[in-house]
Symmetry: C2
Subunit: 152 residues, 2 copies
DNA sequence: ATTGAAAGCACTACCTG
DNA sequence: CAGGTAGTGCTTTCAAT
């Protein structure tokens, strides 16, 4: 159940190199291939590893613009939250949605081609989200860094 | 250079299933294994695919708390920004750092075990970042959703 | 924890339209 | 030039030690 140092080492490597071969991973973890393989299977089965994914280059795909959108709802009732969350999950440009503590605020992370494209997303999708009282958008000038690797 | 519909299909699949075998990916893209393999190699070489990574379960690893930290610097000179960015990149709990448009503001995304652990990170790392004039932390109560998949 | 063996896979070289 | 066919050597995976 609990992770030892070898498990954490495996997870650290997999977080950076998700397509590494089991043979190479075993070397990095100083294990035999089969022992390493069994640990990885255990870590996957127990849910430590949620997914393996390819990370694409947002610039190359013409989506270099990141916008954080702060949204205040008109009410905090559960059904209002639920309706909002269901609707926001259907907007492809929204990569993250967090319910914030304190007020009934959400923060969305949105990607777009440029400010004009964001204006379109805003008009076409965001203004149609249910239960919204206020919305404020903050544009990222530049992503200094971004990682999916948790400190394990 | 430009992507056709088959390329985008491959990228969509790889964004969800980064460890899919080439054989299965070829089936999903209705291509032969070799044709598919060559396309993937091209997409990697041209930089559309930045990385393959494992996404871990932050809850299982006792890091369920996400905090957005807004930081205003005391000056906007390049060397002040650079010093700040270099220092913030060394804090393991900081997963993202964005320079925001308009003011000299940064937004950080930070993960922690709980509010107490965040207090420690704040005290130990964030208060020591150079050039900071103001700092405001907003806690996420709940991550509604989070994806790394860009809309391609 | 290592070994060995069977199956599946990646990758290449070589054709085909 | 992109896709298909076929062959070689690795990797995975499981069973046995």
């Amino acid at each position: 159940m609990a992770l030892d140092e070898t498990d954490r080492r495996i997870l650290r490597v997999l977080q950076r190199r998700g397509r590494i071969s089991n043979a190479e991973l075993a070397t990095e973890a100083t294990l035999s291939a089969s022992a390493c393989h069994r640990r990885v299977q255990r870590l996957e089965a127990e849910g430590y590893v949620r997914d393996y994914v390819a990370l694409l280059d947002a610039r190359k795909l013409d989506l270099p613009t990141t916008v954080f959108v702060e949204i205040k709802l008109s009410a905090q009732a559960d059904d209002v939250l639920e309706a909002f969350e269901t609707a926001v999950a259907r907007v492809p440009a929204v990569l993250e949605c967090h319910l914030m503590a304190g007020t009934a605020d959400y923060i969305l992370k949105v990607v777009a081609e440029d400010t004009e494209d964001f204006a379109r997303i805003h008009r076409q999708y965001l203004t149609r989200l249910p239960g919204v009282a206020q919305m404020q958008s903050s544009f990222a000038l530049r992503t200094v860094f971004k990682t999916t690797a948790l400190p394990v």
